[in-house]
């Protein structure tokens, strides 16, 4: 009996000490992480819209060139945000599930709402070095100027893309590429008409 009490007390004490340390670290880092996340979103929006900025003047450039607006999605309660640049291009957030976890990013369209201006991935959990490469700038640059009508296609590599709605996939990352194409197509189809209404 004494042995058992000793066991419980020990685990409780060790647990409390470590939890306290975790809470302290969390309190210290949470605001920094949150601030970084906001800056990161703004940087991604500017990147997707191809607007130049430096790390110091992100907020300034953002408020100068980009106007945030809201649109309503009927089945969701909260209003979603989209962003219009001073040249009429539109950027908005997309998200969906990849192979291993959620993929979340920003897509920017030209004013005709049928051509991609740029895509940035903010968060993904694909295999580092394989599917993870979908968020590399070199890869996402391939989507520039591609048409999203009737739908975007990611082909199996290497170098087969010839139509203006086709993009080459990544070797060793076919599943991630398919998932990514699926997310883009479904989200674009869903949100573009809604954004057009509230533009």
């Amino acid at each position: 009996m004494k042995e058992r009490i000793k066991m419980i007390v020990f685990v409780l004490i060790l647990g409390s000490i470590l939890t306290t340390a975790l809470v302290a670290v969390n309190n210290y880092t949470a605001p920094i992480i949150e601030k970084k996340a906001i800056i990161k979103t703004r940087m991604s929006i500017l990147d997707a819209l191809d607007i130049l900025y430096t790390e110091d003047d992100v907020d300034e450039v953002f408020s100068k060139y980009v106007v945030p607006k809201e649109y309503v999605v009927p089945e969701e309660k909260e209003k979603k945000k989209f962003y219009i640049s001073n040249t009429g291009e539109i950027a908005f957030e997309f998200s969906g599930s990849g192979v291993w976890g959620p993929i979340h990013g920003i897509v920017a369209l030209l004013p005709d709402l049928e051509t991609i201006k740029g895509i940035i991935i903010i968060h993904q959990e694909e295999t580092p070095g394989l599917g993870g490469r979908i968020s590399d700038k070199e890869y996402l640059d391939k989507f520039k100027e591609k048409r999203i009508m009737p739908e975007l296609k990611i082909l199996r590599p290497p170098d087969k893309a010839s139509m203006e709605n086709e993009v080459d996939g990544i070797t060793g990352a076919t599943l991630s590429c398919n998932a990514f194409a699926e997310i883009l197509n479904s989200q674009l189809k869903k949100y573009i008409p809604l954004i057009e209404e509230s533009k």
Binding site: F10, L14, V25, N26, I32, K36, P128, G129, S135
Partner: protein, 203 residues
Amino acid sequence: MLLRRIFGAEGYKTIKNAIWTDHPIFSMCLGICSALAITNKVDNAIAMGAGVTFVLVATALIISPLRRFIPQRVRIISYMITISSFVIIVDRVLKAFFPAISVKLGPYVGLIITNCIIMGRAEAFFSQNKVPLSLLDAISNGISFSYTLIVVSIIREFLGFGTLLGMKVTPAGWTNWVVMAMAPGAFFLYGIAIWISKTLTEK
């Protein structure tokens, strides 16, 4: 030997065991999961090595002083909560101060918890040795794990992507060995490395 003079006979043996005789990856085949997964880019390998080393050292500093107080039947749980707490700290710190690396390593930071090297060292060494020796063992094992990851990632990044730390180092006509960028490439390299190190240590 310089190392023997600095750390004493016992310390020298600890270092030698960690770096060579009982090398965590080659000799005991521990920690293979993360070693296979993230070694296709050198910067990922460095971050992973540093993360594991930090958690090892921190775990040694908690478990070793407490080794006489940890009740036998809850020792594994004690190691587990200690390790997971420090892994969460590593994860938060990476997110707050090195967001780029945190994004690249993705779920593998959290998976340091399941890295058997840390659990193995806690059970086999930290729970039975004094603090300074445990600390030395933690650092040596961390270095041992890190250098293996870095060497393997240099070969894999070079052959698989034609780059080192993201810089192009191969000539223009270079064809990437895709297999090296994927997990099987790491299996081949570890297989060869384990073969070489077993042959050498047997003599």
